[in-house]
């Protein structure tokens, strides 16, 4: 063996020129049929929804409404990402919509003038509450072997009671408003236009660098690479998305006073997305969480401490959900004693619409982003068309069903090849 060049033709994906246009489309079609197209169908679905709403109401794609939509999506996205950690294991958290708000409530109460705790401690404390609840679930599931469905259903009921009690015990008539700038600004504060552009350019540059570097490393090692056209397309798309987003956020969306810049919620979303994706794809822990969902006994036999990683996933659900809870109370500008009982279901829906499996072993953080955007688009668009809340529920339900059906049909085709 001379060099690390493993140029055995049988190990290549294809011997034809992978760069020709027909092959590109052919490959894409093949991947679509095999169900590993991943996001293409849902992204197309999202674009269709956007087109529909734009035709019905030209204000839909105005920068003011889009920023609004992104902010509305934030909570679905963050809680969806929280849910994905446990969904990957084949577990579920039915309570994240309640526990996350409980964490948010703790933060709201701590920063309230009567306690006057600095946001610097109060916000992490809120996240910690949700994390500890996640750890508790994980312990019960892992040590006592109780199905997570039951444990978190019990938690859903119990913590709903705790949330009502905590809010009411403040004696403020069932509502606690946010009296603190940082917590308020999570959703309602904006980066300056300059920082918006700096962030957008830096983000796009780093991602492009990573894509190109990865491609070059693989090429240098003599490994099969994606066709160059794919790489270029990806880079171009990234730059386009970055510029469009920056322009949307940069545009003045105020009516009386000037209002520009990216809401802080957006970089928080992106930060969680990047860190979560990094853990899932680049670390052993992420590899094991994925693998456990595929065949947990195989992972155990490989000498991995399976229970440790199952517990970790529940903890990560808590951390991510805790961040979501902070944004929730920020967006509501407070917390009240009417717990949001449908929030969990939207979180699960966001993950599943995006392509995460309820049976474990398949899921990416980005799924929650696309799923959350779809839910927020329906929510936002229908409100814009003055449709009733009842219609919104029905349409969201239909979209959920459609997304999962498309996915499972694609998957069945791939299985029966």
């Amino acid at each position: 063996m001379s060099a690390p060049h493993v140029e055995d033709p049988t190990l290549h994906v294809s011997n034809e020129d992978p760069n020709s246009a027909s092959n590109l489309i052919g490959n894409l079609y093949k991947r679509l049929r095999q169900g590993d197209s991943g996001m293409v169908p849902v992204v197309v679905g999202l674009l269709l929804l956007v087109t529909y709403f734009q035709i019905r109401n030209a204000a839909f794609l105005s920068s003011g409404n889009l920023v609004n939509l992104f902010v509305q999506a934030t909570i679905f996205i963050l809680l969806g990402m929280a849910e994905i950690w446990v969904l990957l294991l084949g577990e579920i958290d039915l309570s994240i919509g309640i526990t996350s708000v409980l964490g948010g409530a703790v933060a709201v109460i701590l920063v309230d003038p009567q306690f006057h705790v600095s946001w610097f401690f109060a916000l992490p404390a809120g996240i910690l509450v949700v994390t500890l609840i996640g750890a508790l679930y994980g312990m019960v599931v892992v040590r006592l072997n109780v199905p997570s469905f039951i444990v978190t259903l019990a938690g859903f009921l119990a913590f709903q009671g705790v949330l009502i009690y905590v809010v009411d015990s403040q004696g403020t008539g069932g509502t606690i408003p946010v009296h603190e700038k940082v917590l308020y600004n999570l959703v309602y504060g904006n980066l300056t236009p300059l920082w918006t552009w700096i962030l957008a350019i830096a983000g796009v540059a780093i991602m492009c660098y990573r894509i190109i570097k990865r491609d070059m490393n693989r090429r240098a090692s003599g490994l099969v690479t994606e066709p160059l056209a794919y790489v270029i397309t990806k880079v171009v798309l990234l730059i386009a998305v970055g510029v469009i987003l920056a322009k949307i956020f940069d545009a003045n969306r105020g009516t009386f006073i000037e209002l520009r810049g990216m809401p802080f919620a957006i970089p928080i979303d992106i930060g969680v997305l990047v860190i979560g994706t990094f853990i899932l794809t680049r670390t052993k822990a992420g590899r094991y969480i994925n693998a456990i969902g595929g065949n947990s006994e195989a992972v155990r036999r490989a000498g991995v401490r399976v229970n440790r990683y199952r517990l970790l996933a529940f903890v990560l659900t808590g951390v991510t959900g805790g961040i979501g809870g902070l944004l929730y109370v920020s967006q509501l500008n407070g917390v009240n004693d009417g717990p949001p009982s449908t929030l969990t279901l939207y979180a699960i829906a966001a993950a599943v619409i995006g392509g995460t499996s309820l049976f474990g072993g398949r899921g990416k953080m980005i799924h929650a982003v696309v799923g959350g955007l779809i839910i927020a688009t329906i929510y936002n668009g229908m409100a814009l068309l003055s449709m009733s809340a009842s219609t919104q529920y029905v349409v969201t339900g239909v979209v959920l069903l459609a997304a999962v059906t498309v996915d499972s049909v694609a998957r069945r085709n791939s299985a029966s090849r």
């Binding site: 690390p4 693989r218 992972v299 490989a302």
Partner: protein, 282 residues
């Protein structure tokens, strides 16, 4: 009868008809792995009982027996899948306590299970390195793992997989088996256990695996292989162990056996020509 020799420094096998057992107390005379009175039951089902077996370094031990004889249960016990219901397991003369897949891996036991134990939702490289990923600065070193996987599959003549980045779910039965075998042999192990490693393999891959087994043992690695194919067994094994209805009925060097006596032992648990380790009691 219930002879369970418990001397901490097991001299050697209790019966060993020839070789090895005699001479001095050379360190090499301590078998790599020894089972003493190992039993395993699942509720009322007694899967294996009172198994005494020594597995020496650098030799190929073939474990044979009919369907349901308890072969897989025995090797799973050795691999730490579950603790034995009774009996002791010694590694180089030292008793193993708290055996688990993790401790087995740490000792250098690598196993190909009959059900292969692969993760369908991971690709070949990811399965290959499951539990022992290469890392660089704390993150997964995918390129290193992919290169090594390519090379290993080439060495094993597994040339039919299109890409090592395809999901294991999309592989044929034989390809999956080849992956499982490759995974077990890729790391420096002291004992490689193969549960019917060639059952689904084609002619040339089977030849490769048999060749591989010889190579492993020539490198001083102990191999325990389960097979129903007596031709393969006689072509590759140094020792034979026969199980019948959950008991180890005979074991010794291959020269003590021929196809007829092996078949006899497999089907009836006894043979007129070969000494059995079990007094025909039950």
């Amino acid at each position: 009868m219930d002879t369970t020799p418990e001397s901490p420094n097991l001299p050697t096998s209790p019966q060993g008809p020839s070789e090895q057992s005699g001479s001095g107390v050379a360190p090499s005379s301590v078998p790599l792995l020894s089972l003493r009175g190992v039993s395993k039951n699942f509720g009322p089902v007694q899967a294996i009982q009172g198994v005494n077996l020594d597995i020496p370094d650098g030799q190929v031990t073939a474990l044979i027996g009919d369907n349901g004889a308890g072969k897989s249960v025995l090797i799973k016990t050795i691999s730490g899948i579950w603790p034995p219901s009774e009996g002791k397991i010694f590694w180089k003369g030292e008793e193993i306590h708290e055996h688990s897949p993790r401790s087995a891996t740490a000792l250098g036991i690598a196993t190909v299970y009959q059900d292969l134990a692969l993760c369908d939702n991971l690709d070949i490289v990811q399965n290959m390195y499951l539990g022992r990923e290469e890392t660089k600065f704390g993150t997964l070193d995918e390129i290193k793992m992919e290169l090594a996987t390519n090379q290993l599959l080439k060495d094993l003549s597994v040339s039919t997989v299109k890409s090592v980045r395809q999901l294991v779910a999309s592989l044929s039965g034989g390809q999956r088996q080849a992956i499982a075998v490759a995974r077990a042999v890729m790391r420096d192990s002291r004992l490689v256990i193969l549960d019917e490693p060639t059952a689904a393999l084609g002619v040339s891959q089977t030849r490769q695996v048999l060749e591989l087994i010889r190579t492993l043992s020539s490198r001083g690695i102990a191999v325990l292989v389960i097979s129903h194919n007596l031709n393969d067994v006689f072509s590759v094994a140094d020792r034979i162990a026969v199980m019948h209805l959950g008991s180890l009925v005979s074991n010794g060097p291959i020269s003590d056996y021929d196809t007829n006596s092996a078949v006899e032992l497999i089907t009836t648990g006894q043979s007129s020509r070969v000494p059995t380790t079990l007094a025909p009691s039950s």
